[in-house]
Structure formats: C-alpha cells, structure tokens
Amino acid sequence: MRTPAFLRVVEGEARVYRRVWRGSVISTFLNPVLFLAAMGLGLGRLVDERTAGAGLDGLTYLAFLAPGLLAATAMQTGAGDSSWPVMAGIKWRKTYDAVLATPVGVASLTVGHLAWVGIRLVFVSVAFVLVMAAFGAVGLAAGLTAVPAAVLTGLAFAAPMVAYTAGLKGEQGLTSMFRFGIVPLFLFSGTFFPVSQLPDWLEPLAWVTPLWHGVELSRSVALGTVPVPPPWLSVAYLASWTVGGTWLAVVRMRRRLVT
C-alpha cells in the first residue's frame, strides 16, 4: 500500500467533481453575489441609514453581514455535500458498495468523503471571500484569514450530516433536515442580525448552535471585532462537532453498509 485509503477516496471524489464542476462553480460565485447585493447593499442601505452604524459595532451592514454569510455558506456546502450525494452513494447509485468491494474500508470511505468536503469548502470559501472583497465588504487579506474558520464550520455540519444521512430510508428525511434544521440556522444564528435581537428565551438556543460559533469566529477574524464567545471556545466547539460527528458517521455508515 502506497497511498492511504482515504486519500484514494478523495482522488475518486475529485475525479467525479471534475466532470460536474461547471454547474457548481457558477452557483459558488453567484450565490454570494446575489446575497451580498440584495441583503448587503439593498437592505444594508436601509439599516445603515437607521442606525448610523451604532447598532452593529460601528460596522456597515455589508461588512457585518459578509463574514457571517461566509460561515453560513460553508454550513450549507458542508451539509449539502454530505446529504444527497451520500444518499446516492449508499442507496440510489450504490457507488459506496463498489468502493467497499475493494480493500478500502468504511472508515476510509467516510473520512475520505469528509476530507473531500473539506477541500470543497476551501474552494467555496475562497470564492466567497473574493466576491466579498469585490463588494468592498472586507479587505481581501482580512477576508482570507476567515477561510479556516469557515472550513471548520462547514466540517462541523458535514460530519454529523453523514451520520444522519446514513440512518435515513429516503429523501424525505433530508428535505426535513434542511427545512427545519439548516434553513432556520441560516436565518437565526447571527448571520443577518446579532442574536441579542432574539427574544431572551431563544438566545441561549442560538449559543449552542455550531453556526453561531462559526459566524462569530469568522466575523471576529475578518473584522477584528470582539466575539461574544471566546474564539478558543468556538474553535473547540466546532472541532468537537467535527470529530464527534466523524466518529458517529463511521459507526452509522458501517451499520448501514456492512450488513
């Protein structure tokens, strides 16, 4: 054996991606352009006029929004890449069965998939930062320093999402997860407005969501603001979702695929 098994899985995923990258690249750039234009510029003008920067730590709304949206986009990418594609591998196309018929085992398959998602997250986050900088929301160099935070946020969702998908019978559970999990997190985790705006009883709920930590971390790194949770706590929290999620994903993938 010369190449570790999980890297061979990454290589396989990369080859598949090479065939389908065109569609995904367009949405990778278009998505931040649309959001930053509509929310950052359009809505942002309204917000900035009302607050004169006071309510957002002296930031323009665009600057406030952009790094948070970077983390939220990483969440969506991580969760998305670990849901429908994983279900296809398990059930619809059974490509995972083909992989497992080779010396590659379940742990390498799972870790390889997540490693590939990590690489995708780097692409998507860098693309996002380029758009962000083009909008003048954040300087390019400052924006790029937030990429690791975004990648970690994406992985904190990707890993448990594999575990979740591995237990599903069909597509319904994925649709529900996005409708009742990912979309509400996207909206209410401090991306579009500080969670201090939430009703008091709801605020602690936001604190335990990984996305809130990702948003706060990414924003503080990119803008030099002081985050509500200490950065080390956010990193540790996101890392434990990633590591715990990966462990659970391997367990559940084994239960699903090795029968």
């Binding site: 080859r15 083909a98 590659v104």
Partner: protein, 308 residues
C-alpha cells in the same frame, strides 16, 4: 491437491429473525466455474456478499483464499473481483475513468492501471467507447464494463452476482462468451443465477439453493442425470380438457408434473410416451419434446419453478 479457494462449513447468515443462509457447506476449487442456482430469495446474494468479505457471517466458518473474512477483509478484497447484481458504476464518469478510479481504490500504480485499462477495454469490447460517460451506454455495455472493472486488480477469484439479469438475449450471449474466455485463461469464477441456461452454459459445478439451504450439488450434467429422466414431453391443453387429461395420463411417464399452463411428462423415450398419450385419447393443443434441464431438477427437488 491444492486447497480450495473458498471453503464454507455450516455457513449461516441471519438478518434479525430471518435466516437468509441456513448452514451451507461448499468448496470452490482453483480454476473452476462454480455456480449458485436458485430462485430470488434463496440466499445466493447473501452468500456472495459473505465470500466478498463485505458482509459478516452469522455462524459457521468461511475461508476465502486461505484467509478469514472477519480478520483479513482488505487482504481478501485486494485479490477478488466483484460484479454486483446492480450496476454501481459512476454514471457521471467515462468508461475509462471508471476503470482508472477503481484501479486506484486497489492502490495500483498509475502506470500499471494505464496498461491494464487498454487490455480490459479490448476484452470488454469497449475500446471505442472509452471516452463516453456511463449513462450513455447500453445495459450490456454497462455490464461488460462492470466485469472489466472487477478485473482491474487481476483477481484470483471473480464473483458474479446474476451477471445477465435484465439483458436481452444477444447481450447475454456476448457476455457468456467473455466469461467463457476468462475461464479459459484460468480465472476462477463464482456465479449466482436464477437462469438454468446460464448455469448450464457457465458452470463446471454448481449447488442448487432454496430457502437458504443447498438441496443438491454436482455438475449440470450429473444433476440432470441424477434427478431427472432424460427427456421431457410438454403438453399444452385447452383449459377445459386440462383436469380430465391429468387423470387419464396417470402412470404414463416416470414422473408427471402438472403446471398451471402445461403438463410435463418425464420419460426416457419421448417418442413412445407421445404414442401413449394419443392412445389414451388425450389431444393436446400443442406439444414439444426437449431434454431435461436444471429447471426440471429444481422442480423435482423443490416442487417449484426457478422463476415465478
């Protein structure tokens, strides 16, 4: 004599309360084409997955290539080729890429993979389609590609689960031809099938499975000789005449099977039996004479047909 490539004793597979494979014994030897013949749900695929070291055994013992699948799964899988029942190729990738990726899963060096791909494309008659994506291939081509993929690591043992299910007759024959060539090269094959003609074409030796158990074992010719008279006269009767004919044919042949649409008379001398049929005043709508097949053996052993 060399030790068998696969040895199973009291091999069992349970899923919850359901016993899919119920204590079977068999050996597969170097260079032979070994078959599991049986209807859907007989436990053939479960057995294949255990041999393929992807499904843990629930009981008994299993040795594959001298190794224990529970302990040495990756080492076993490195030397196996697997052609699953459902094609699980990467649809978005080209023919060539599918082979390349699979070679990489086996951790073969690039140069080796490149050489083998050219040979395998030739073997699978897909050289011209090398740059086509899989979704544009016909069913027969996909199946040949799946077989080529299973050969990328030059396996000691090739597992084929229902290799021609869903293919049209022409594609089936093309595939059998390829498998026959592999056999000529000395590749050991294990085939599951519910087609008796496939079992007769491909297998040197086979076991007949039903409800998780092995009910008979031997070469196709042995099994037919052992369990079924040489010839079969098949009678089709008008529905109204059916029951009356069954009564009047009683005792006429060595064995009589009454199917919903036909009556089968098993005999050593078809011509004489046909004479007897007319002598008893039975006038079938149509009639044919054929040799006994593995389908007849299965019917005899289980009272059911292979495909229902």
């Amino acid at each position: 004599m060399r030790s068998p490539l696969v040895t199973a004793r009291a091999l069992t597979k349970r899923f919850g309360d359901f016993t899919a494979v119920d204590g079977i014994d068999f050996d597969v030897h170097q260079g032979e084409a070994f078959g599991f013949l049986g209807p859907n749900g007989a436990g053939k695929s479960s057995t294949m997955r255990m041999i393929g070291a992807v499904s843990p055994i629930s009981g008994g013992t299993l040795t594959v290539l001298g190794l224990d699948p529970a302990a040495d799964g990756p080492a076993i899988r490195a030397r196996l080729g697997v052609v699953p029942q459902e094609d699980n190729l990467d649809q978005e990738l080209t023919v060539w890429e599918n082979l390349y990726i699979y070679g990489r899963y086996f951790d073969l060096p690039r140069q080796v993979i490149l050489e083998r791909i050219d040979e395998l494309l030739e073997f699978a008659q897909l050289t011209e389609r090398r740059n086509d994506t899989v979704e544009h291939l016909s069913g027969g081509m996909k199946r040949r590609l799946t077989i080529a993929r299973g050969l990328i690591n030059q396996p000691d043992l090739l597992l084929l689960d229902e290799p021609t299910t869903g293919l049209d007759p022409q594609a089936r024959h093309a595939l059998w031809d390829r498998l026959y060539r592999l056999k000529q090269r000395g590749v050991t094959l294990i085939v599951t099938t519910h087609y008796m003609d496939e079992a007769e074409q491909l297998c040197d030796r086979l076991v007949i499975m039903d409800k998780g158990r092995i009910v008979a074992e031997g070469s196709p010719r042995d099994l037919i000789a052992r369990y079924s008279p040489r010839e079969v006269v098949e009678l089709r009767l008008a529905p109204d005449d059916h029951d009356r004919a069954v009564a009047s044919l009683d005792g006429l042949a060595r064995r009589i099977e009454v199917l919903p649409d036909r009556i089968l008379l098993y005999t050593d001398d078809a011509e004489a039996t046909i004479g007897d049929v007319f002598e008893r005043g039975v006038e079938p709508e149509s009639m044919l004479t054929r040799r006994s097949t593995l389908e007849d053996v299965f019917l005899r052993l289980t009272g059911r047909r292979l495909m229902d």
